[in-house]
C-alpha cells in the first residue's frame, strides 16, 4: 500500500494505482477524456494534468525534512498526466492550485479549437463528457480576462475551424462525425484490447487525423465485430453515435431503466432508454462481475422489434376470425375451449427468456394440474444444471480453458472474458469510486497467451485466433472428440495433434474450465462424455445455452415429467405457449392458447386464443445467467397495451380450468422463491445441485446434415438496420455445394423448424465437408436437420 496525499487528504491505495485513481479515491475530481475503465491508460488527451511531488532522501539515507520536521515534498518541475503516473509512497498530488487549473483550462481550450459547437443537434448533448468538462474546467475567468472591465475570452483561436466529414456511415449501426472527434483513442484501444478485432485505427496525422476502418466496395465501410456498439458508449463526445437510436430523443427526455438483457445467457446489464412508450436506445450497464461495461451488438441494436406490430389486446377466434376482446372474455373463451380436456393433457410451454417467477408459476400450475407436459423453449437435450457452473472470476483464474462451440456467437460476453484470459488480466480491484478509471495493469498490444485456450467447433470460429490448438469438425463428431480427450478412442482425422495438446494441457492444469456450446448440450452422448471429462479433471463448466434463463428454469423443474412432451415435440391436447411454436405442434393440438408479443401468419391460422405478452424488457422479476448468478429484471415503460406476463396469464388459465392459481402475482412468486427455493439475494450465485440426467441415445445423424449454427441475432430482431446486416444464407463448402448441385447465389427453399424458408446459397471456403450451415436465429441452435432442399427460384 502507498500513502498518498491529495491536496489536504491523506489516503492509502495499493501500489501501482494511478495518480488519477488516487485522486478519485480521495474524493477529488480531475478532468479526463482518454482514460476509461477496463482500457489501458495512454495519456493521449493531456486533460488530467496535475502537480505531483515526492519526498526525497538525503545522502545519509533519511528523508530531507522541512522546517516543521516533516519530510519535504519536492515538486516535479512540470505537470504530469495523472492517468499514466503511478503513485509512490509518500507522494503528494495537487489538483487545486492555479498552475494546475490554468493548464487544464488551456487543454480544454485546445480541445475546443476545432470542435464544432453543434451541441443543439448532437445526440450526445446533455450526456457529453466534453460539455461537462468544458463547463467545469474550461473557462477560469482570471486567466482569460484581458482587463478588469473586459469580458473573459472563451478562446484565443481566431482562424476558421477545421471542417471535415460529418455523418460518415461507419457501419449500419454506427455513424461517425469526424469534426467532433477529439482523438482520445478510446475506440481504437477498445477494439484492440477488448474484443481483439483491430478494425479501427487512426489514419493520417496531426490536425488531419481521423479514425477509419477497412473500406469495402467504394467508400462503404463496415465494422466486422460482434461488439462494435460499445464504442458509442465510451466516446466522450458525439463522434460515434448509435444509428438505431439517432435523433430519437434528447438525453434528458429518456426514461432510463437498468435491467438485464435476455438476448443471451450471459445476463449482461443494460440500460434501456424509452421515450413516450417506445424503446429507443439500449446502452451497457456496468456489471463488474458479468459483462464489465460491454454488451454485444445483438443486445444493443436488436431492440426495434419491441416497438413494432405488438399484440396489445387479447384475441379470440369467433366464426373463424380472430377478434379483439377483453381479458375476461378471453378467459371465458379458454374455459369453453378447455371443457372436457383432462387436466393432465394440458401443456404449458414458456419462452427461454422467461423469468424465475414465471417459471415458478408454470411449474406450480403444472403440478397442481398433474400434467407432465411442461417445458421451456430452447431447453437443451442435456440440462445445463447437470454441470457445476464456473463463474467469470473463476474463468479468469483458470490455467486452461477448453471450448467446444462458438462463444462469440452463442454467448458473446464469454468471448470478451476469454479475451481477458489470454491477456492475463485479473478482475479489476475496487476503489471508493468503483472500478479504476486508469488501471495501469492494463497495457496496449499485449501478446495473447495461447497456452490457455483450446477451441473445437463445427465451423471456423473467431476465437480460434487466440487458441493454442484449434480445429473444426463435422457436426456430430463432438462425442468422438471428447472420447479422444478422455483417452477412450481415436481422435477424428486431422485433429490428432490439436486434441493431444489439449489433453496434455487439461491434465497438467490445476484449474480448468470447460465451455460447452449448444452443439454438445444437444448431443446426449457428447454431453455424457463432457460430464465425465469435467469430473475427471475437476473442471467447472460454462454452458452456452440458447435459452437465456435455462439454468434457472431447469433448477425450478420446468422440464417434461415422464411421458410429457418436450418443447420440440407435439403431444398435449390443449396447449399454452408463451411463444410461437412450430406448425406441427399447433396442428396436433385441439385447443391452442398463444401468449405472444407478435403475431405471424402461422399463429393467425391456428390460434384459438391469443393473449398479449410482455417482452423481457417489460418484465419484473429475476433471472439466472450461465454462471448461476441471480440477476434482476426491471420493467421498462414500453407501450404494450394490455400485455401481461406469464404469471398473470397462467393465473387466468388456472381460473378458467377451475383450479386455484398457485401464484397470482409476481411479488408473491418472488417471495416464494426466496422462502421455499432459498434463492440468494441479487448478484449472488444460486448453488444449484448438479442434476442427474439419463444419457439418452443420440438420434442418428442425418446423412448430409444442415447444421443450425449459432448467431447472436434472433429471428424477431431482424427488422430495420439489423435486417440489412444479418443475411440468412445456406453456407456450404464448394465441394458440398457441388455434390448437391447448389450454385453460389442461388435461391433455395428449405424446411426448417421455423417453417419453410427461402435462403440464398453462399459458398464458403474452409467449412468442413459433409455438412451445410444455416443460421439458427433462435432456440433450435446446435441441432442438425436432414437437408430437405427444394431447389427453386432463380439461380
Amino acid at each position: 500500500m502507498a500513502k498518498v496525499t491529495v491536496n489536504d487528504r491523506t489516503i492509502e491505495v495499493p501500489n501501482g494505482t494511478s495518480a488519477m485513481d488516487a485522486i478519485f479515491h480521495a474524493g477529488y475530481d480531475v478532468p479526463l477524456f482518454c482514460a476509461e475503465r477496463y482500457l489501458s491508460p495512454v495519456g493521449a488527451c493531456r486533460m488530467c494534468l496535475v502537480k505531483t511531488g515526492a519526498p526525497r532522501k538525503g545522502p545519509d539515507g533519511s528523508f530531507i525534512l522541512d522546517e516543521n520536521g516533516q519530510p519535504k515534498i519536492f515538486w516535479a518541475p512540470k505537470l504530469a498526466a495523472s492517468c499514466v503516473t503511478a503513485v509512490t509512497d509518500g507522494m503528494a498530488i495537487d489538483t487545486l492550485s492555479d498552475e494546475v487549473k490554468h493548464a487544464q483550462s488551456g487543454m480544454v481550450e485546445l480541445t475546443l479549437f476545432n470542435h464544432p459547437l453543434d451541441c443543439p443537434t448532437c445526440d450526445k448533448g446533455g450526456a457529453c463528457e466534453l460539455q461537462d468538462r468544458s463547463y467545469e474546467y474550461g473557462l477560469v475567468e482570471k486567466f482569460y480576462q484581458p482587463g478588469e472591465l473586459e469580458l473573459p475570452l472563451y478562446t484565443r483561436y481566431e482562424m476558421t475551424r477545421r471542417h471535415v466529414d460529418k455523418h460518415h456511415t461507419l457501419s449500419e449501426f454506427i455513424t461517425l462525425d469526424r469534426e467532433r472527434c477529439i482523438h482520445c483513442k478510446r475506440c481504437i484501444r477498445y477494439f484492440e484490447e477488448v474484443p481483439g478485432d483491430k478494425v479501427l485505427d487512426f489514419i493520417e496525422r496531426g490536425v488531419h487525423t481521423f479514425i477509419n476502418t477497412e473500406e469495402i466496395e467504394g467508400h462503404q465501410t463496415t465494422l466486422p465485430s460482434n461488439f462494435s456498439g460499445n464504442i458509442t458508449d465510451i466516446c466522450p463526445v458525439g463522434a460515434l453515435l448509435d444509428r438505431t437510436a439517432r435523433f430519437r430523443g434528447r438525453n434528458w427526455e429518456y426514461d432510463s431503466v437498468a435491467t438485464t438483457s435476455m438476448d443471451d445467457a450471459s445476463g449482461s446489464g443494460i440500460i434501456a432508454d424509452t421515450r413516450s412508450g417506445f424503446l429507443e436506445r439500449i446502452r451497457a450497464q456496468e456489471r463488474r462481475e458479468v459483462n464489465e461495461a460491454w454488451i454485444s451488438d445483438a443486445a444493443r441494436f436488436g431492440h426495434d422489434w419491441v416497438n413494432e406490430g405488438r399484440v396489445t389486446r387479447p384475441l379470440v377466434r369467433r366464426d373463424g376470425r380472430l377478434v379483439e376482446v377483453t381479458w375476461e372474455e378471453a378467459q371465458a373463451a379458454i374455459k369453453a375451449g378447455l371443457a372436457g380436456v383432462p387436466q393432465t393433457r394440458i401443456g404449458i410451454y414458456l419462452p427461454g427468456g422467461a423469468t424465475l417467477e414465471e417459471g415458478l408459476a408454470a411449474v406450480e400450475l403444472a403440478q397442481t394440474l398433474g400434467t407432465p407436459h411442461r417445458d421451456f423453449q430452447g431447453r437443451t437435450e442435456t440440462p445445463a444444471t447437470a454441470f457445476l457452473a464456473a463463474s467469470f472470476d473463476e474463468l479468469l483464474d483458470a490455467q486452461f480453458v477448453l471450448v467446444l462451440g462458438d462463444p462469440s456467437e452463442e454467448t458473446p460476453i464469454v468471448h470478451l472474458r476469454l479475451s481477458e484470459l489470454t491477456r492475463g488480466l485479473k478482475p479489476a480491484s475496487k476503489l471508493s469510486h468503483g472500478t479504476p478509471i486508469a488501471d495501469l495493469n492494463i497495457k496496449e498490444n499485449v501478446p495473447r497467451d495461447r497456452s490457455k485456450l483450446a477451441l473445437f467447433s463445427p465451423y471456423p470460429a473467431q476465437l480460434a485466433k487466440w487458441a493454442g490448438a484449434s480445429g473444426t469438425h463435422r457436426p456430430g463428431q463432438e462425442a468422438a472428440l471428447l472420447a479422444a480427450l478422455l483417452g477412450q478412442g481415436e481422435a477424428p482425422a486431422g485433429l490428432e495433434e490439436a486434441l493431444e495438446w489439449a489433453r496434455k494441457r487439461l491434465a497438467e492444469s490445476q484449474k480448468s474450465v470447460l465451455i460447452l456450446g449448444a452443439n454438445v448440450l444437444n448431443a446426449p452422448e457428447a454431453a455424457t462424455k463432457a460430464k465425465q471429462l469435467a469430473e475427471k479433471t475437476g473442471a467447472k463448466v460454462l454452458c452456452l445455452t440458447p435459452a437465456a434463463n435455462a439454468r434457472g428454469l431447469e433448477a425450478l423443474g420446468l422440464y417434461p415429467a415422464k411421458g410429457g412432451a418436450a418443447w420440440t415435440e407435439a403431444g398435449p391436447q390443449a396447449v399454452y405457449y408463451g411463444y410461437a411454436p412450430t406448425e406441427e405442434q399447433l396442428k396436433s393440438a385441439q385447443f391452442r392458447i398463444l401468449h405472444l408479443t407478435h403475431r405471424n401468419a402461422l399463429t393467425d391460422r391456428y390460434a384459438d386464443v391469443i393473449l398479449p405478452n410482455q417482452t423481457p424488457y417489460e418484465k419484473r422479476g429475476q433471472t439466472v445467467n450461465l454462471e448461476g448468478r441471480v440477476l434482476p429484471l426491471e420493467p421498462v415503460s414500453i407501450d404494450n397495451g394490455e400485455a401481461d406476463g406469464a404469471v398473470a396469464a397462467l393465473a387466468v388459465l388456472a381460473e378458467a380450468i377451475g383450479v386455484k392459481p398457485p401464484v397470482r402475482l409476481v411479488r408473491q412468486a418472488t417471495k416464494l422463491l426466496a422462502e421455499k427455493w432459498k434463492l440468494p439475494a441479487l448478484m449472488g450465485r444460486w448453488n444449484i445441485k448438479p442434476a442427474s440426467f439419463q444419457p439418452s441415445v443420440s438420434s442418428p445423424q442425418p446423412s448430409t446434415p444442415v447444421y443450425l449454427r449459432p448467431t447472436m441475432w434472433r429471428r424477431e430482431q431482424l427488422t430495420g438496420a439489423v435486417a440489412k446486416v444479418v443475411r440468412v444464407a445456406l453456407e456450404a463448402s464448394p465441394e458440398v455445394a457441388r455434390a448437391h448441385g447448389l450454385i453460389d447465389g442461388a435461391t433455395v427453399e428449405l424446411e426448417t423448424p421455423a417453417g419453410r424458408e427461402k435462403v440464398t446459397v453462399k459458398l464458403v471456403q474452409g467449412l468442413p465437408s459433409g455438412a451445410m450451415y444455416l443460421p439458427a436465429l433462435g432456440p433450435w441452435v446446435g441441432r442438425s436437420l436432414e437437408a430437405r432442399i427444394l431447389v427453386g427460384g432463380e439461380a
Partner: protein, 183 residues
C-alpha cells in the same frame, strides 16, 4: 502473384532484425514503394496477411507517413512543403503554379506519366523556403516561378536533377547545406 512471394530471403532477414513481427511493417512498405512507386490496396492486404495485421492497421501506419503513397505516382513525384516557413515563403502560390502548369491535382498523374504532386509537412529546410523535393532526391530550394519552370523543363528533357541549371543567385540544387545558400 504476391509481391513478396519471391523475396522470402529478404523477408526472413528483415524479420530477424526486430523483436516483433509487426515491426517489419515499415521496411516492407518501403520496399514496395521503392519498387512500384506506390502501395496499392492489394499490396497493403498482402502485407497485412503476412504480418497478421488488419488492413486498417496497415492503412493507419501508411497514412501517418507522407512518404508512403496510397495512390499511383508519376516518374517524378513533386513534394511541396506547405508548413509554416514555406507557406509564408509562397508555397501556396507555388502549388497553384504547379497545378496550372501540369493540369493535375493531388492523386493524379500527368498523361505522360512523368509528374505527380503532393503537399507535405515540414521538410526541415525552413531557411531556404519554399522547398520542393523530387522523389528521394536532395531538395530544390528557394523555388521561384522561374526556377520551377526550369526544373520541370529539365525533368521533361530527362536530365538528372543535379544536371539541371536553375536560374537565380542561390545554388541550383543544394544538398541540404544552408551555408551555400546564405553566401
Amino acid at each position: 502473384m504476391g509481391f513478396f512471394d519471391d523475396k522470402q530471403d529478404w523477408l526472413a532477414e528483415t524479420f530477424a532484425q526486430y523483436p516483433e513481427r509487426r515491426a517489419a511493417l515499415m521496411p516492407m512498405l518501403r520496399r514496395v514503394q521503392q519498387d512500384e512507386g506506390w502501395v496499392s490496396p492489394e499490396r497493403q492486404e498482402e502485407i497485412g496477411q503476412i504480418l497478421g495485421l488488419t488492413a486498417t492497421e496497415v492503412a493507419g501506419v501508411m497514412s501517418f507517413y507522407s512518404y508512403y503513397q496510397a495512390l499511383p505516382t508519376g516518374k517524378y513525384h513533386l513534394q511541396v512543403c506547405a508548413t509554416l516557413s514555406c507557406a509564408i515563403g509562397g508555397a501556396d502560390e507555388l502549388w497553384d503554379e504547379l497545378v496550372n502548369e501540369l493540369q493535375i491535382l493531388r492523386g493524379d498523374v500527368t498523361d505522360d506519366g512523368l509528374f505527380s504532386i503532393q503537399k507535405v509537412e515540414c521538410l526541415g529546410s525552413c531557411h531556404t523556403a519554399p522547398v520542393i523535393q523530387v522523389n528521394d532526391e536532395p531538395y530544390v530550394e528557394c523555388v521561384t516561378k522561374a526556377r520551377l519552370q526550369a526544373l520541370l523543363e529539365g525533368l521533361r528533357q530527362g536530365k538528372k536533377l543535379e544536371e539541371i541549371q536553375l536560374p537565380g543567385k542561390v545554388g541550383h540544387v543544394v544538398h541540404n547545406r544552408g551555408d551555400e545558400v546564405q553566401a
